[in-house]
């Protein structure tokens, strides 16, 4: 189909003015990709899909949502009421809202799988360091966007989650208090906070879209890694992105939508994991919920924060746990990329994945002394993983690499 479109007169007209033909060739029909990518490589295109879904559903939600913490009746506010109006009175508002709320969790799931794939197969190593670093920037912006978005329904968890997190900034020396007040637009989380969070929640996806463009561009300069982690020079070992990977990605989209739509239509709250029970209770600044926890995708970092007795130390550790991702390409000096040929790294990285899941579980649950200890051990391994990478090449005996894929 693409070929027949490219032969039309209209396309020739556009091509003369944009160079579309050359772009399509270099980015799709003649963009060479290793032929051995497995299904873990599908998560990149899925992340792009979810980003588009979030932006589209978000635009429609913003047409009805009202960012105001002014009280209406029964302890509810204008913001909370407007969300319920979307759920009840706006045509298919419930669909758009559930798609957006489930989409946030789906976005993180897909992106975490994507990052995990990059870790496992060494996709962060040269020449893809910058590609990885741009990816980490994307992750941070996503986390920001999700955090801002969670305040908007102005439920109990929105309010207290935002209170706890903005409080953290207050722990920073010198600028802390100022920063906290700028974020909140006052001394406590309130109406001004809601307004600026809404503004930022709309801004961040625009940043994301731009930076994702940079991420894809960087990828197309250095090309995809592959499960063997070796450079692919031979023309026979590569295939064109279109049609091979477009159709494989399309199949992946089908499978993804099956899961996504199942949740949207049959279990949108996901037992309190995607929309927390407490967020159906209107925000009340006089009543702290018994247990405040962020949504599942932020809980690993929340556990790292809570693992330190000193608040400032916890904040620094949480920052470091994300910041260290930037350094990963330079900490790991092994010449071999893929875990398939790095027996020790392979065990370390799988343990790292398990650790992050354990951290997530600890952050989600109400704190107990045992869980706290488990969280601290997991935190220790989280950092140890990166530090050990520095020394790993000294004692890891990698397996011989194949000549071709």
């Amino acid at each position: 189909m693409l070929n027949s479109i490219m032969k039309t007169k209209l396309f020739a007209w556009v091509d003369q003015r944009t160079g579309a033909d050359a772009i399509i060739k270099s980015q799709l029909t003649e963009y060479a990709v290793p032929k051995n990518l497995n299904y873990m490589w599908n998560f990149g295109s899925l992340a792009l899909l979810v980003l588009v879904l979030q932006i589209l559903t978000g635009i429609f939600l913003a047409m009805y949502y009202k960012p105001s913490a002014a009280f209406t009746s029964g302890g509810y506010t204008v913001a909370f009421d407007s969300v319920e109006r979307i759920m009840r009175d706006v045509n298919f508002g419930w669909l758009i809202r559930y798609m957006h709320a489930v989409g946030a969790s789906a976005f993180f799931f897909v992106v975490y799988m994507h990052i995990g794939r990059g870790l496992y197969y060494g996709s962060y190593k040269g020449p893809r360091e910058l590609l990885w670093i741009i990816g980490v920037v994307i992750l941070l912006i996503m986390q920001g966007a999700a955090f801002f978005g969670y305040l908007l329904p102005w439920g109990q968890m929105s309010f207290w989650g935002a209170t706890v997190i903005t409080n953290l900034f207050g722990a920073l020396p010198v600028i802390g208090e100022y920063l906290q007040q700028v974020l909140r637009g006052g001394f406590a989380v309130g109406d001004p906070t809601l307004n600026r969070f809404f503004s930022l929640h709309y801004l961040f996806p625009l940043l994301l879209a731009a930076i994702v463009g940079g991420h894809v561009h960087a990828l197309h300069v250095v090309h995809s890694n592959n499960p063997e982690g070796i450079d692919v020079h031979n023309a026979e070992e590569k295939i064109n992105f279109h049609p091979y990977y477009t159709v494989k990605d399309a199949f992946g989209v089908g499978v993804f939508l099956l899961f996504y739509c199942y949740i949207v239509f049959f279990n949108p709250q996901m037992g309190g994991f995607f929309i927390e029970v407490d967020n159906y209770v209107p925000a009340n600044n006089l009543q702290t919920p018994p247990h405040i926890a962020p949504v599942w995708y932020l809980t690993p970092w929340y556990t790292i924060l809570r693992s330190f007795p000193d608040k400032l130390l916890g904040v620094v550790a949480m920052g470091a746990s994300l910041g260290i991702l930037f350094l990963l390409p330079f900490l790991d000096r092994s010449k071999v990329r893929s875990s398939r040929y790095r027996p020790i790294f392979r065990q370390m990285v799988v343990l790292f994945f398990v650790t992050v899941i354990i951290l997530g579980y600890c952050g989600h649950s109400a704190p107990t002394p045992t869980l706290k200890l488990v969280g601290q051990i997991a935190t220790a391994y989280y950092f140890a993983f990166f530090i050990l990478l520095l020394f790993l090449p000294k004692f890891e005996k990698t397996k011989p690499l194949p000549d071709h894929i």
Binding site: R88, P227, I239, Y262, F266, V277, F353
Partner: protein
């Protein structure tokens, strides 16, 4: 297919945690009473509406449910005349707001009764929780909490709501009737917490059917396109 094993192993952990997490979902510690509610059962929801308007609305509102909604939702679909009777001189587009003012409520009960529009979404256990509360009024075994305020299922066991269905010390002969009322009103509250839920599940069936077909076609297409690639 090594990555497959890693992937499955990685997925098994949250699945296990999820399963163990839901087992303790009820924080209070007491297991909630099981109850069957069907948010698509019109007869049950209508009976629940009657319990709600005749008992609960003496104190509680459901402000997100309008009298017009009671006519429009196919799950309730009462007649215009019935809606007029319920609303009195309130507008048709008004929410179901109790006549008890927050001030009077605070004087009488020490608390403002919460709006019930979203109550089954806003409490762990949902309908089971509401049902358990309504049929959970007992004499305090320690004799500390006055009769009518001791509720086994309420966090802290001291509830400001005076036993609305008259459960405490009820006659054995009334038991079936009271359980029925509690069940019906729980069904009604489950329905209004998400009034498009039946429509959502209904549309969802078609969406899933379509996606299954689409995914199958895409899979076959993928296989066809890739058949010459040796990898």
């Amino acid at each position: 297919m090594k990555w497959m094993k890693v992937f499955l192993a990685a997925m098994a952990v949250p699945a296990m945690l999820f399963a163990s997490g839901t087992a303790f979902a009820n924080e209070g510690g007491v297991a909630l009473k099981p109850v069957e509610v069907d948010p698509a059962d019109q007869a049950q929801i209508r009976r629940g509406l009657t319990v709600f308007t005749e008992v609960c609305m003496g104190c509680h509102s459901a402000k997100y449910v309008t009298y017009k909604g009671l006519i429009d939702y196919p799950e309730i679909a009462i007649t215009r005349e019935q809606a007029d009777e319920l609303r009195g001189d309130k507008p048709l587009a008004a929410g179901m707001i109790t006549d008890l003012s927050p001030e009077d409520a605070t004087v009488s009960y020490g608390k403002v009764p919460p709006d019930l529009s979203l109550i089954t979404s806003a409490r762990r256990g949902g309908a089971k929780y509401v049902y358990s509360i309504l049929t959970g009024f007992e004499h305090d075994p320690h004799g500390k909490v006055p009769d009518g305020n001791f509720n086994e299922y309420f966090p802290g066991h001291r509830i400001a709501m005076p036993d609305p269905l008259g459960w405490l010390d009820h006659d054995k002969s009334d038991e079936a009737e009271l359980l029925q009322q509690a069940q019906d009103v729980s069904a009604f509250l489950t329905f209004i917490s998400d009034p498009h839920q039946n429509e959502r599940r209904h549309i969802g069936m078609f969406v899933m059917g379509f996606l299954l077909l689409l995914t199958l076609v895409l899979y076959l297409l993928k296989r066809e396109v890739w058949k010459d690639v040796k990898h």
